[in-house]
Symmetry: C2
Subunit: 115 residues, 2 copies
DNA sequence: TCATTATATAAGTATATACTTATATACTCA
DNA sequence: TGAGTATATAAGTATATACTTATATAATGA
């Protein structure tokens, strides 16, 4: 057991439940590379904007991610102040594909369309 | 990213979803200390036998645990051959309380009642 | 100020999930 | 072989979840 972990079993379970959804895990995998705005997720994970927003809200409510408004856009990033941050980072070591996906997006010039 | 991981994002998500339930996470926490039979789980997590069996079935179907019949009892243990075993072990480092719970159970002589 | 773009929220719906109770199966031992 | 114990499974139900479509809010820039 990690002694310094302030997390109760319920809290670990809550984090795992949130990450236990393919869409949210993919979102977190992308955020593990760099911060992203909502429209980038919509593009990359091929999902409706409301659906993406709802997933982001759950992640934000549980403090796994944080948001920063930059003008018209809201950028999401992994919240390093979340108590379960070390757990989340450990788990994300097992999630692949994010780098490749983001490269493809940048080649396609989509990050430009979004800025 | 862990390069040797054979797990696709969906598979990681599936494992996390299974662990993202308080009952199942507790079960895995106990199994991380030693193998247990069903009646021990029933006693320790204060849950009905069918409910425990159903959770164990899900864990077994996904290969996170394996079962061994020993006469009248079926002992469950963590399946080291599961592709996500390293992930599971990593996660269980964050789950506390199992040792204390098992000690209490042994003091109460419950493992005897079960053997 | 108005049109446009980005995002959030609300409401509805279908499916998944985690229990419950009742019953079946499997093993042990007298 | 039959009673007792351990476990699994089936069926029912209430709640949670992840979408959908429609609409609201917020910022930008002409």
């Amino acid at each position: 057991m990690i002694k310094d972990s302030a997390l109760e079993t319920v809290e670990v379970a809550q984090a795992l439940k949130l990450l236990g959804d393919k869409t949210r895990l993919t979102i977190m995998g992308l955020l593990n590379v760099r911060e992203c705005c909502v429209c980038e997720f919509v593009e990359m994970i091929q999902m409706s904007q409301p659906s993406v927003s709802q997933h982001l809200r759950k992640l934000r409510d549980a403090r796994l991610v944080k948001e920063t408004r930059k003008g018209q856009w809201i950028y999401y990033s992994i919240n390093q102040e979340y108590e379960g941050y070390p757990l989340v980072k450990d788990i994300l070591r097992y999630v692949k594909g994010a780098e490749e996906q983001l490269e493809a997006l940048e080649k396609a010039g989509l990050s430009i369309r979004c800025t």
